[in-house]
Symmetry: C2
């Protein structure tokens, strides 16, 4: 009964926050008047309140009211009772730490399995994978576990970035980092470029947007996946 | 009694492994014939043996023999008895996990405090800070702690990269990531550009190389630090 949009990024270069996704979100959340927003990832360290206001402005364009999870005494109940849920981007280590601290991780997984519509962007998408181990974020806090929601039978790398052949920087490319992940872990990793998202309906996992995504499997060469591909075979 | 070289990178663009540092290393390790190499960070997932061979080739140029820590039954003792130590780059999460697993973290800190000369590059430099929380690496394994050697009274960000004003990528810049770190942590962070290193002698911490480094303090604007600056005031 899953009904999810899992997006690489909230914002395209030159666009406004969530703008490119609004037509999809109007459909995803068509039966909701109020959405629960989870601001735990706090991009740039902004407050829960400031983040919630930013999100409320974007969702007002499709006539949805936003309530931040910080306004509830019991985060777990807030998740269970939500009409629809959005988890925004920021720092994945912080998001995962706060979800565990507030008993939200299991509650969110159960709630999404039962069909509550969900939008994730960036860190909020990362947590839809099996683990957060292919995040790009800095470990600014120490989470109790790297295990996440498992809404997908693989891991995500949002904001996937192809190597720049002209770069003289010697830091690891994204592809190298993911190959290091596969030296120790077997789960597939989908590199989701900015502008791409996954549409999850029940067990179907369809790549959306105009770009291809890059699929990394342990002990295999990376592969480009075309839009409209159903990734449910990655089990 | 510290005697350390803590380098942003092992390799400059277009250069050979460790080449730009060899004159410094000949001085740092002048009283050593054999160095202990810690290959735990395994860049690209290569084996301890392959990594050790690569390092041995580079150090042969200054007539040093390299022995990998994997060749010893007791890693702690190998560290304590080493004439000099080099920890190479790769994945910091893996390095820290393996150091803890082999009872090497505390042993290494104590050994370096007692004056054993040490070279760190990239991940091997990251661990010289208070914590590994400003690494760029992917969390491919879950370490028991983010605490590291504390050879410096601050944290490092190796391979520091200035924001590209022309980029259309919406992922966080390095500076944004470090400011997120400072939303939750107070330790200073030094962004060490490729080609820069810190020379630590006793309590002196001198920035070396031709480039400036970028210093981030909580609740302050970032600051450029010039070569030859002594950073021991950052306590």
């Amino acid at each position: 009964m899953k009904n999810l949009i899992i997006a690489s990024t909230s914002t395209l270069h030159g666009g406004d926050y969530l703008d490119y996704l609004l037509p999809e979100l109007a459909v995803l959340f068509k039966n909701c008047t109020t959405l629960l927003f989870i601001p735990y990832a706090r991009p740039g360290g902004i407050t829960h309140e400031a983040y919630t206001q930013k999100v409320a402005l974007a969702f007002a364009k499709i006539n949805k009211t936003i309530v931040g999870i910080q306004e509830f005494e019991n985060a777990k109940k807030a998740i269970e009772q939500a009409e629809g849920i959005f988890t925004g981007g920021g720092n994945t280590f912080l998001l995962v730490s706060q979800l565990y601290k507030n008993n939200g991780m299991n509650a969110l997984a159960e709630t999404l399995k039962n069909g509550t519509p969900y939008l994730g962007t960036s860190a909020g998408s990362n947590i839809c994978g099996l683990t957060m181990q292919t995040t790009n974020d800095m470990p600014i806090v120490y989470p109790p576990s790297f295990l996440t929601l498992g809404m997908l039978p693989f891991n995500l790398n949002p904001h996937y970035l192809d190597a720049d052949a002209l770069s003289q920087h010697m830091g690891e490319t994204r592809e190298t980092r993911i190959s290091e992940y596969h030296a120790f872990n077997s789960a597939p990793v989908l590199g989701l470029r900015e502008g791409s998202w996954l549409e999850v309906k029940d067990e179907k996992i369809i790549l959306k947007g105009t770009l291809s995504a890059r699929l990394f499997m342990q002990n295999k060469a990376p592969e480009e996946i075309l839009p409209e591909t159903n990734l449910d075979y990655l089990k």
